[in-house]
Amino acid sequence: MSKVSYPQMGSYGVPIYFLLSHILEDDIVEPPNITDATLELGSKYSPDFVCTPFKYTLGTMIESLEQGADVLIQMGGGCRYGYYHELQEKILKDLGYSFVLINLVNGGNKISISQLMKAYPLTIQKRHCLKYLYLTKKMVFYMDKIDDYIRQNRCYEQTKGSFNRLKKEMLQEMKEVHSARKLRHIYHTYMSKMKKVPRKPMTKRIRVGLIGELYTLMEPKANEDIEQLLNDYGFEVKRYTNVTYLLFEKRKKVKRYLKHFFIKYRLGADALDNIHHTEELCKKGYDGIIHMKSSFCTPEIAAMPMIEELTQKYDVPVLFFSMDTTTSQTGFLTRIEAFCDMLEMRKS
């Protein structure tokens, strides 16, 4: 019997665990939360100027392997993400671990199920498998909706932490579901609970858009929990990038973006999406935009000049962050605070 593990990203560990525990007969090792120790491990064995998600995932993999995992799952994407797995496998094998690494997305942005089946033959029924795939998709969809709601309302809560507590409870309940109806029921209950959370009166409404590279945006450790920070300041936050968008909506939308836009071609990874979202945010009258990426993220670097041009055109302040494993929190906080103060001053 093997032990399966996967890299950590935000709270998406819950649906992944849910899926794996139902379609595999093997044990599942839940990856430990990302800490500074994880980062240190990751960056110690990584090449010098690789982008940061490599270091995060490598660190988590080492920690999972230490806990006894022997099958690792890695995702890929449209840029450098797609080639992570081969180098990571090599680095870990050089370190002396023995394991199997399964890459879900190849270079070409497609999940190759046939390849997956070859690497990992499933013993359970196909119908059963499809059911849980569907449930996981729905779960991610509801989670993203709830997260969206939280980001826009957490800043007005009266007792600090009420939204976070509710979300935690919801995730706990979602782990136990077996039907789509139950899942929907949980979603609606918690949505109405959240709508009833006591709120402070709204004095000034400041909205900030969050765009950038996907891993840095979705993993709170990688962005120093910027959403919570901005919410604590009393700002609403809007973020387009989430798993639902990336997996199910992106493909259709990109085609539409290209039709009526000043960008002629796809720019790789999420660069085009981010430029489009910048324009959308500007048009909707958001007060500020924060662009976050891991350091050396090539597609985002190419997108930055265009984002800057747009924000100048619409006169919206923009702040660029390049997050690395060595980013000191103090410097980060100073910049965020200055930006927030500036937004408040502009508004009054």
Binding site: C51, Y83, E86, K90, Y265, A271, F296, A302, E309
Partner: protein
């Protein structure tokens, strides 16, 4: 109608398509203007406009574009997405058209290569702009392809000749736009010659051959130009050492070279070039590498 002048920036694509363009446009009777060889001044120009974290090769390319600004009617910037599923390019190649469009005013002569469009399809779309008929264009295309093939064969022959010569030989593995650039690969070439080392270049071999050989080293690599580069390593078994040449901070090289170096048995040197003007560090590293080669 006046004859149009087309500007060709001496960076990135020039080192892959330069010979083809030269003969193609010569046959079409169109004048070409080249930007000069890369100098410190052009690098500085590029760095001034590009975002800080952009790779040096792209900064240099932008420097060349800024030189051509206003000196020609069109500047030729192809956009290459992928040749097929396993032969993609770096994301900078994808964004190059829109970046140039953002920074410069000169109209851009642009064709696109992806899974559904090859070089000829791309050029055919330009035929109205170039003012030639379809037949003429296809003829020019075939003529230029033939010329390009001859040059490539000549280069390959010279490589094999060098390989059989006496003396220490080193294979320089990199993208063509790094090896032959006067700022990145130029100083390296000179230093190797000063130290009586014979350099072989990964891009002078036939790409069909090296591309297929890349499988020996990496199973899943899907970047065309990286595959072409590392494929030369199994081809040159006789060389004494290998130099990996990269620019700071090249996204592909950071992963690919690290992967290849981990299974390397020969002496190797990993050089990362940045836009500093002093070359003393380079000298020291090359000299110590040469010492190492001479001892082995």
């Amino acid at each position: 109608m006046d004859k149009i002048k087309i500007g060709i920036p001496r960076g990135i694509h020039y080192y892959y398509f330069g010979n083809f363009w030269k003969y193609f446009f010569e046959k079409c009777n169109i004048e070409l203007i080249y930007s000069p060889k890369t100098t410190q001044e052009l690098v500085d120009r590029g760095s001034a406009i590009a975002p800080d974290e952009m790779c040096l090769s792209m900064k240099i390319y932008l420097g060349h574009l800024s030189y051509l600004e206003g000196k020609c009617d069109y500047v030729l910037i192809p956009r290459i997405d992928r040749f097929d599923k396993n032969n993609q390019t770096c994301t900078n190649f994808l964004a190059i058209y829109d970046l140039a469009h953002h920074y410069f005013q000169t109209p851009i002569l642009n064709y696109n290569i992806d899974t559904h469009h090859d070089l000829l399809d791309g050029l055919l779309e330009l035929r109205d702009l170039l003012g030639i008929s379809k037949m003429e264009l296809i003829k020019a295309y075939e003529y230029a392809k033939e010329k390009e093939r001859q040059i490539k064969e000549q280069q390959e022959k010279e490589q094999y000749q060098k390989m059989s010569e006496d003396g220490k030989k080193v294979l320089v593995v990199s993208h063509a736009y790094n090896i032959h650039d006067d700022f990145i690969g130029g100083p390296l070439e000179k230093l190797l010659e000063d130290n009586h080392i014979i350099p072989l270049y990964s891009d002078y071999f036939q790409e069909e051959q090296t591309n297929a050989l890349a499988r020996c080293l990496s199973k899943d690599l899907y970047w065309k130009y990286s595959r072409d580069a590392i494929g030369a390593i199994p081809l040159c078994e006789k060389v004494d050492g290998i130099i990996f040449l990269s620019t700071f901070p090249c996204g592909l090289d950071s992963l690919v070279y690290e992967f290849v170096m981990r299974s390397m048995e020969k002496p190797y040197l990993y050089l990362v070039m940045d836009d500093l003007s002093s070359k003393t560090g380079l000298e020291t590293r090359i000299e110590s590498f040469v010492d190492l080669l001479e001892q082995s």
